[in-house]
């Protein structure tokens, strides 16, 4: 029978001690919105649940001179209500507001969303577009920084070691945060897993794109950047011709699957469509 154990450390030091002394495999839990369904489905048994939600120091949104730092335990609803995020990284703000439901957003954390690594993780495309860095910590204070585009390895797989937790996510403040957009396509208008999602962040000089960052979710084994399309835009005008050309190429960048929600064919078609819309919205300066 499934018998699990539980611990809620109040500090990172205490966490180290618990993890070090653990006689069972450790499973970290924060908001629980992914872990608990897995327990219910029988995918996790006989583990020691180490609850990170007691680590209050990992719950913050901080604006520094050049960067923004978000603690891993910050809830999605706090991100979706944060003035700093709304003003300085609106594409993340919009993505947070469309994750799950208002009820799950009050528990789900940004660290948990990344660590669970669903190919459709809602916060991943904006963070990829923001070129975020994932800060982690292993036992005994071993820290490292993983650029987010190296963080995901496959569906529900990341670079995190078994005793490694995310502590915070940082990204440089975009030069012009308004030149960003986030679009999510689902079969329903709420509580919906993405059929596809796209985040775009541009640095422009008039009508010329100096730098484009384009990230996609739910169209590959992991959330991804469309590097080749980004290169096509670098230094070029954001005009209709360019956008159309790129929109045809983006279908080749992705490797979506067919599942009960949509076929791979459909995902390719709408990726082109949403790409065009995302670029247009971003270049216009985001949502009206």
């Amino acid at each position: 029978m499934n018998e699990m154990e539980y611990a809620r450390p109040k500090s990172l030091k205490e966490m180290d001690r618990i993890v070090g002394a653990a006689k069972r495999p450790v499973k970290f839990i924060a908001g629980g919105t992914n872990v608990i369904p897995d327990i219910r489905a029988g995918a996790l048994s006989s583990k020691l649940l180490v609850d990170l939600s007691g680590l209050k120091e990992l719950n913050f949104v901080k604006e520094e001179k050049n960067e923004i730092a978000i603690g891993a335990l910050t809830t999605i609803s706090n991100i979706a209500a944060s003035r700093v995020i709304r003003e300085k990284a609106p594409l993340l703000f919009y993505a947070a507001g469309q994750l799950g439901s208002p009820l799950t957003r009050n528990r789900a954390t940004i660290g948990g969303n990344l660590a669970y690594a669903s190919p459709a993780a809602d916060t991943a495309p904006p963070l990829l577009a923001l070129e975020a860095v994932v800060h982690t910590r292993r036992r005994l204070g071993r820290e490292r920084k993983i650029p987010i585009d190296q963080f995901f390895l496959g569906p529900n797989k990341t670079r995190l070691a078994k005793d490694e937790i995310i502590t915070k996510i940082t990204f440089s403040k975009p030069k012009d945060p308004s030149k960003g957009s986030y679009l999510k396509l689902g079969l329903r208008n709420a509580m919906t897993i993405s059929v596809l999602s796209i985040a775009v962040l541009l640095e422009t000089n008039g009508n010329v794109c100096r730098k484009a960052r384009i990230a996609l979710g739910a169209v590959a084994p992991t959330p991804m950047r469309a590097y080749r399309i980004e290169k096509k835009f670098a230094g070029r005008a954001i005009d209709r011709k360019n956008i159309e050309e790129s929109s045809l190429l983006i279908a080749e960048e992705i490797s979506p699957i067919s599942d009960i929600r949509a076929s791979a064919e459909y995902r390719k078609r709408v990726t082109s469509v949403l790409f065009q819309r995302a670029i247009q919205e971003a270049s216009r300066g985001g949502k009206p």
Partner: protein, 771 residues
């Protein structure tokens, strides 16, 4: 009989209770969290049940070894088919009146063969739910997988895998013949021919199936369960080999039924486990179990060929219907009959040829769901109407205007409509309520409007000799008690009775206490299905209340020295009509009756007008007592680049006869419309070789608050219904034409028609591509 009822009800009501939007009698308890649903009851020493279910859609069971499970500490019973006194019985539709030929095998646990993935194979009762869940994993079942058949068209072929024990998978076949179909098409200038497909739909009630059973102090096996049919107590008794009066079903307030709690769900499992262990047992389905294992709306393939003259007169309809009954018969023959009778829609068509079949497959069994076979054909016939309109250069409304049935016209089965049919009225009003088409600010988004009309029965099929009984009695303090076997699934079935009784007896709804759904203690009122409760139990309650009122007024007449006709009963007082100052309190009249030995209670039985079984060779005769006529209208915004559909406006215009409680009627129309919207746009129980790929609410999507538009309700009151006060039932009619309205609106928006539900964004894009 019903004519008289209506007159009597009219004569003394200025309708001060009926016709008002009073809160329902159950609203308070639900708002304060006091209402107990089936899973909210606990008994000391209660055990927890769990069903072991087949992992295969088609397989032979070679052996079942329960030993490991039995040995697990805390397990109190493990049962398989061999432990059940009568593992097979017949599903009956007629309750007390048996109608031959359409019964289906109801098997409690799979015996030698499994027919669908999720079929019950064994039962466990244990001290805790966790132990029961563990125990089912320890039962060793040796399956030999078989080929199975999953497509109804394949299943009809003579060489197909045989789902059951018969030599054919065909369950039944109905025909309707009217006129001469060849002639009909010969005289048509335009013929439209299409094949329509609809998927399985899940009821998705928020409350999963649940119940608690125990053996009471008198040895009566008692099952407390959320059910639309407490009369299953007879089948449960047969399974256990007990006399009927040794089994009692107590229905709870249901957290949504929609037809999904109409068949036996947990009852027999519970009865067996409590009978075996002699302890109380609780059984609750998980959501996945509910979606995978309980009956669905029938998937259909419908071939429609409709012909009309140049000036828009329908001449001919040839329809071939094939429904997927799934693994067991359940209510498939009845659902098919509804489809067959309703396949032509509310239109005059002189030449009709309908062939309808239902066939077994190894998919989850199909059974009752709000609309009961009519939403499927409505999708087909209303799509055909718009297609024809397009070919004839007529507006959808105009084509319908030229063909709607009227009172006095004969339907496809030769039944002459005896009551007012609210067409084209409901269509005109619904369309008008949509208003001007919204303007799209985005070139990629196209706006469209559409309508869908339907004629949907309320009340059961007339050859079932339907009856309902209700008890109404006065308390000594002037309060009223109603006892009625009605099952309340959330549609206000119980509350309507309090409103009716209050009206007739001159009290307020708060003065009436209703006890429902107990086979031992409340008069049997029949099923909460077929949109029949307001009609049947409403009439029975009204009749019972009338009788009590009659006795009250006779006594009051003695007191006030007046003829009873000169009195009125209102606000807990009996007053002389001509001299309102002369009055006596209701309480005092009650006391006076008690002293005189006049019983102030009455059990009335309302018998629906009945006919004999319709002739199935030609499908001619009366099948239903009456119909609700109505039209849905919808406005949609379609993003032609992604295929996503936004619902902008929804209207439901229905002749409800008489709105006993306008707020409750609106609630039915609003809810039914949205459930129909889900059917049109979102819902699909996806089965692959019998395996459900949409087992939870993450995959099986129903509308959220952000997906819907507010439904605007327009209630027409012809007072020409056969229910109390001239009311009609609208529980099912409110859903039937919603999907076609949306589908027609989408066609109007993007110019392409989708012939299979649901209208996913992908289907929209693919259809656009084809243009």
């Amino acid at each position: 009989m019903s004519e008289k009822l209506r007159d009597e009800n009219k004569s003394h009501s200025d309708d001060h209770v009926v016709g008002k939007p009073f809160p329902r009698c159950d609203a308070k308890d639900k708002a304060f969290g006091n209402t107990k649903y089936a899973d909210d009851y606990f008994l000391p020493g209660m055990l927890y049940g769990k069903v072991l279910r087949s992992e295969y859609a088609a397989a032979e069971i070679l052996s079942i070894d329960p030993k490991k499970a039995e040995k697990l500490s805390g397990v109190r019973a493990v049962m398989t088919a061999k432990d059940i006194p009568h593992n097979e019985t017949i599903t009956r539709f007629g309750q007390t009146h048996t109608v031959g030929g359409f019964e289906g095998l109801y098997r409690i646990l799979a015996d030698k063969k499994v027919r669908f993935m999720g079929e019950g194979v064994a039962l466990v009762a244990a001290d805790t739910q966790a132990i029961a869940d563990e125990a089912v994993k320890l039962i060793q079942v040796n399956y030999k997988p078989l080929a199975g058949v999953f497509d109804p068209i394949e299943a009809l072929k003579p060489e197909a895998y045989k789902v059951g024990e018969e030599t054919s998978n065909l369950v039944c076949y109905y025909k309707v013949r009217q006129g001469n179909i060849k002639e009909g098409f010969a005289s048509s200038d335009v013929i439209v021919e299409n094949t329509y497909r609809v998927p399985a739909q899940d009821h998705a009630y928020i409350e999963p199936e649940a119940g608690l059973a125990w053996i009471d102090d008198d040895g009566v096996v008692t099952i407390q369960v959320c059910t639309q049919v407490i009369e299953h107590f007879r089948e449960i008794a047969e399974v256990l080999g007990l006399p009927y009066n040794k089994v009692r079903v107590k229905g709870t307030w249901i957290g949504g039924g929609f037809g999904g709690k109409e068949d036996i769900t947990v009852e027999t499992y519970l009865a067996l486990l409590t009978w075996k262990t002699k302890k109380p047992v609780k059984l609750v389905y998980s959501r996945e179990e509910s979606i995978i294992c309980h009956g669905k709306r029938h998937p259909y393939v419908m071939k429609y060929k409709t012909g009309a003259t140049r000036d828009g007169k329908l001449m001919a309809l040839e329809a071939k219907l094939l429904s997927d009954a799934g693994a067991y018969v359940y209510l498939s023959p009845w659902v098919l009959l509804y489809s067959t009778v309703g396949a032509a829609g509310p239109y005059k068509i002189p030449h009709i040829k309908i062939d309808a079949r239902t066939v077994l497959t190894n998919n989850t069994f199909s059974s009752a769901f709000r609309g009961f076979g009519v939403p499927q054909v409505c999708f087909a016939y209303e799509s055909q109407m718009d297609e024809l309109a397009g070919r004839l250069n007529l507006s959808p409304l105009e084509l319908r205007r030229r063909n709607y049935l009227k009172k006095g016209d004969a339907t496809a089965t030769g039944y002459v409509l005896e009551h007012y049919a609210a067409f084209p009225e409901t269509a005109e009003k619904a369309l008008a309520a949509l208003g001007e088409k919204s303007k799209s600010k985005n070139p990629a988004v196209k706006i469209g409007q559409g309508i869908g009309s339907s004629m949907t029965s309320y009340g059961r099929m007339v050859f079932l000799h339907d009856t309902s009984r209700s008890y109404v009695g006065m308390e000594m303090d002037g309060g009223v008690t109603v006892r009625c076997g009605v099952q309340d699934l959330g549609g206000g079935q119980a509350s309507s009775l309090t409103q009716i009784a209050a009206e007739v007896l001159g009290v307020s709804m708060d003065d009436v206490r209703v006890y429902v759904a107990d086979t031992a203690l409340t008069p049997i009122a029949g099923t909460t299905t077929a949109t029949r409760q307001l009609y049947m139990s409403g009439n029975a309650t009204s009749m019972a209340a009338q009788e009590v009122r009659k006795r009250l007024l006779e006594k009051a007449g003695e007191i006030l020295q007046s003829k009873p006709e000169g009195l009125e009963l209102r606000n807990r007082k009996v007053r002389m009509k001509e001299d309102p100052e002369r009055s006596v309190s209701l309480k005092n009249v009650v006391k006076a009756c008690a002293s005189a030995g006049i019983p102030l209670f009455h059990i009335a039985q309302f018998n629906a007008p009945s006919r004999e079984l319709v002739d199935f060779k030609k499908g001619q005769g009366q099948v239903f007592p009456d119909f609700a006529f109505g039209t849905h209208a919808a406005e949609v915004a379609v993003d032609v680049e992604t295929g996503k559909i936004g619902v902008l406006k929804l209207v439901a215009c229905f002749d409800v006869g008489k709105a006993i409680n306008p707020q409750a009627v609106e609630g039915q129309l609003e809810g039914g419309t949205i459930q129909g919207m889900g059917y049109a746009l979102l819902e699909d129980v996806i089965l692959e070789k019998g395996m459900t790929r949409t087992p939870s609410f993450s995959e099986y999507l129903i509308p959220t608050a952000l997906d819907v538009a507010d439904v605007r309700c327009i209630l027409l009151e012809s007072e020409d219904g056969i229910g109390p006060f001239g009311a009609k039932g609208v529980g099912e009619p409110s859903l039937v034409s919603a999907a076609p309205a949306l589908v027609n609106a989408v066609k109007d928006a993007v110019g392409t028609r989708i012939f299979d539900l649901p209208l996913t964004p992908e289907k929209i894009l693919n259809a656009q591509k084809k243009r």
